[in-house]
Point group: C3
Chain length 140, copies 3
């Protein structure tokens, strides 16, 4: 079964689209029917399928998660113990837990069965630059 | 590999069960062992496996998400930018991000390996009527 | 396709690791490439891939969810209807809805493609002791 690892460079928290990379991998495989499994190999970023039309949706999503889980320096987050890797680290783990580490997308006629407005995103929760690995696995 | 799209009509926010439709599809396939992947083709509704016994559980679940993510007209949500599609639209995207877009359920002896109290639900987050597409994919 | 059910005993809310059990199952199967699907057969506990290094991460995660969804006896949770099974029951369903019921992890060279810091956990949301069933399914 075809499998690959794609690598994304992130420059701060937010959503990074990789729908095209996933579609290109599916196309190259020549597989008509099957299941694409997307898996992210980290615990401070996650996966999300979201609207690919209005960029404000992504901005609002990022904003919601920042408000729900503020940095550990925020007075409301004083209970956090794991602060050694910076004020955005533990909130990043929490945001990752609230979203998804893997997503399965069925194929039909050689194409991902995404809805019209669905895009595939890496949701970065750390502030600094990171290199993130995503596994794409095509199965039956 | 067998695959189908089921279509559900929703009449406002809440949980809509489709366990029977999924079981019927599995039964019809004749497959004994395998994996059912459920995928929803929208970004303002999502998937959930939850208790199928007491309907109050579904009511409380819906209530929790409404309180965690109120409409964008709510004073606490003034920061939302994406309001063009109505006050329930951006909260719907957020609730979808907090739940799941795909779920994998293994089969054994031709049946979904759901626990005794597990039902399969579409979680609608929009107020108006919608027609929602769910992909069912049976693989190995 | 190989499949098994593993059973975990939990003693109160928190994260219980089962990475080794999953790896042992994959190793025993002899499969080199494929996809492991993990599915939990309950609605008041869930699955999580999280950092396996600093145990404080797990403590903080558990703490966050307890603060976001306090017991139904908490004044802020008076709106909960489903209280018959105890003050930790409905919050457990909510926490399960906010995390994941199934996770797919690709295999390569006979090993799970987990990142260096990723561990596989059952996230127990109930206070009392429970016996929890997790399905492991290896597919192509």
């Amino acid at each position: 079964m075809p499998q690959t690892i794609i690598s994304l460079s992130t420059r701060g928290a937010g959503l990074y689209e990789f729908t095209h990379e996933a579609e290109a991998f599916v196309h190259k495989s020549g597989l008509e029917e099957g299941l694409l499994t997307v898996f992210v190999r980290h615990t401070s970023c996650s996966l999300l399928i979201q609207e690919n039309a209005d960029p404000d949706v992504r901005r609002d999503l990022d904003q919601f998660f920042k408000r729900l889980v503020p940095p550990s320096t925020d007075p409301s987050m004083r209970w956090i113990i794991h602060t050694a890797e910076g004020p955005d680290d533990m909130p990043a783990h929490i945001k990752a837990a609230l979203t998804q580490v893997s997503i399965g997308i069925p194929l039909s006629g050689g194409r991902l069965m995404l809805g019209t407005w669905q895009g595939l995103y890496l949701f970065e929760h750390r502030d600094r630059q990171h290199r993130r690995e995503i596994v794409l696995h095509l199965g039956r």
